[in-house]
């Protein structure tokens, strides 16, 4: 097959270089070789190129490949729900060129062998996959994982996501130890004693429904604790899936005080609220942290706008239909997101005029690359040709039956979204196409 050489006629949006203008992109040996704003190639030139060497991106946005730094791939252990291969295919279909997988697999990603296993599977995958290791052995919160070893094997960050570290002392050690390897510690901020057996946000809707609630303070107590510990140790903290207005404000203040902190937010927390649960108790609206209120959604969007929240990550969490097709409180937490993230964000954030494309792409590509020190998130000369071509006006209906993910647990089924990836390009090769 012919190698892609040029993407012409599109709007190049590259927040890493503050570019948002019409430009052609030249690719050589899998890297960006030139960004050209003058039209060098005539229609004649293009006609002479072989099919596959050229993409006409007229009317499209050319973006650095999207990066999702918070994905659950379920392999090893629960391959029926997702595998590294199927998760990567779903990622490509969603416009992602890089994904990072969370360690709550069986066995846990907390040792060299598992990291190596994931990387070996990742070699066949259409997109780049980076493993994130547990902070503690088995995510049990008791002993540090062999952090030096997993980093040497290729893990790029640490987290006990899903099993937040409850001991402040353990978290302090994690900050101290991780500092040696210059990788971030990712926290799922939640004080489990306050969350108890809550199944949705604690507030007016949970009160009305008599549902057990997860109060917003259970997130904020943990965010406060970690910010204090990060400041004390000089550690580097990244907060996963921030969901409350109060947590945004805590992080905003900490950033002003130069604490080494970054944070992410999910598309569902930016677009959905807890009162939807009262409509028909759809277990696809059950996640951790839970969907919050309108006030929180507004604060999250504002946090994204002013950079308090650095990036958007899907927290793609596949579950079987059987496990979700039950009474709300009995269903597991989590929704998938790889194939809907971009469409949900462009529909709820850009179409609603909260964000511009350059801000969205910064949050979905440039910032996650910076947080994880990846050679990605930019289309400047010399960077890998990891590219997402987005049709910003494309309307499409979310049909879970057509997902490439092995799971279907999405709260957006049947919705019409505006904006979709039409080409996903990794290393100069088209890995997904929807034209």
């Amino acid at each position: 097959m012919a190698r892609l050489k040029v993407i012409a006629g599109g709007q190049l949006v590259d927040p890493s270089a503050d570019i948002d203008k019409k430009a052609d992109l030249y690719i050589e040996k899998g890297n960006v070789s030139r960004v050209e704003t003058k039209q060098l190639l005539t229609t004649e030139d293009l006609k002479q190129m072989e099919p596959g060497e050229f993409i006409d991106a007229t009317g499209m946005i050319i973006s650095p490949g999207l990066i999702d730094m918070h994905v659950h791939l379920r392999e090893p252990g629960k391959e029926k729900l997702e595998t590294i291969q199927t998760g990567s295919e779903a990622a490509a279909a969603g416009g992602f060129t890089t994904i990072c997988c969370m360690p709550n697999t069986t066995p846990t990603i907390d040792n060299q062998e598992t990291v190596k296993f994931i990387l070996s599977r990742a070699r066949q995958a259409p997109v780049r996959v980076y493993p994130i290791s547990a902070i503690t052995k088995g995510q049990k919160g008791k002993e540090l994982a062999e952090i030096g070893e997993v980093v040497a094997a290729g893990a790029i960050a640490l987290t006990d996501d899903g099993y937040p570290v409850q001991s402040a002392e353990m978290m302090r050690k994690a900050f101290d130890y991780a500092r040696m390897f210059k990788i971030p510690v990712i926290e799922h901020p939640e004080d489990l004693s306050l969350s108890g057996d809550g199944v949705m946000n604690e507030g007016y809707t949970s009160m009305r429904l008599g549902m057990k609630g997860v109060p917003f303070v259970s997130e904020e107590v943990c965010v406060s604790r970690d910010l204090l510990l990060a400041r004390y140790t000089g550690g580097r903290i990244h907060f996963a899936h921030i969901s409350t207005a109060g947590a945004v404000e805590l992080i905003r203040q900490a950033k002003k005080a130069d604490v080494n902190v970054t944070a992410e937010v999910t598309p569902h927390h930016l677009s959905l609220t807890d009162d939807l649960i009262a409509e028909d108790f759809d277990p696809n609206l059950k996640m951790s942290p839970p969907l919050r209120t309108e006030t929180d959604v507004r604060a999250l969007i504002k946090g994204l706008l002013d950079g308090t929240l650095d990036c958007i990550a899907s927290d793609h969490a596949p579950h079987s239909h059987e496990s979700k097709d039950v009474e709300f409180d009995l269903a597991p937490n989590g929704v998938i997101g790889l194939e809907t993230s971009l469409g949900v964000c462009s529909t709820y954030l850009i179409k609603e005029k909260h964000l511009k494309w350059t801000q969205l792409i910064r949050a979905m590509s440039t910032r996650p690359a910076q947080i994880l020190s990846l050679n990605a998130g930019s289309l400047q000369e010399g960077f890998p040709a990891d590219i997402t071509i987005i049709d910003p006006g494309k309307e499409w209906i979310v049909n879970p039956e057509r997902f490439l993910s092995r799971s279907r647990n999405t709260p957006y089924a049947g919705q019409t979204l505006t904006g979709k990836a039409v080409y996903t390009i990794v290393d100069g090769k088209v890995v997904y196409k929807d034209v």
């Binding site: 009160m207 028909d280 709300f328």
Partner: protein, 308 residues
Amino acid sequence: MGLKINHLLGLENVSREDIELILNTTRSFREVIERPVKKVPPLRGVTVVNLFYEPSTRTRLSFELAEKRLSADTINFAAKGSSVAKGESLKDTVRNIEALKIDMIVMRHSSVGAPHFLTKFASSTIINAGDGAHEHPTQALLDMYSIHARYGKLDGLRIVIVGDILHSRVARSNIWGLKTMGASVAVCGPTTLLPQEVEKMGVDVYSDLDEALHGADVVNVLRLQRERQQAGLLPSLREYTTLFGLTRERLKLLNKNYTVMHPGPMNRGVEISSEVADGDSSIILEQVTNGVAVRMAVLYLLQGGEEN
């Protein structure tokens, strides 16, 4: 005219007309159950399943009796010791039961929204007999009927619900129903058992029982689950009784023609003193009798019956 609702899942979104229709129909069935022959034929040929995922002898007996009085065929299904205990999902259980060709399901379940979940795939008529701490509509309807029977109205009455509001489906259904019918509702309990933002349901909120009772017509005392103390929500049952127990002393604060209610079963000497429970103004046993009539009305109307 029949009911506008197809299932009775809760009272939150039930209209005043529907509630009035149920209360009026209850009145006719209340007469029926005073007759020497208490059985009437309207549900002949109709099969009702009482699907109890949570044990509740009182509610189940009341429904069962209501079904029998209407000549329905009744099957009881208790989750304990059944296929459910072996891990069968609610969906599969209900599909299996429906394959037996049944018409109505009365369900008690510990999960909020379980009866709503049923309506997504079941073809039977669903009656919620209590879902978690959410709603218990027939209990609220029988409470409302009992109050109405005493005062001839609900409009303008002041009703105080005392106790564990946080975990109470009886409280929630009562609030929705009574508010719809124009009563004024207050809730009172220890702050650890009052849900946040409960005032947004349109009720007055108190943690001082004496204040709450002042000028009220009806006091509905909820059962206190002893586990609440173990869960750290209360320092002791003794302190609860001191602060929130309904005693004869406190009755003086109510309006003259006051009424005492309790959904049962009672912890005598904890949330209510024996002399109050057995006093002249207590309608606790009347509530039980009315419960059968209300459930007959609901079953009858949901099966397509009309006011006669």
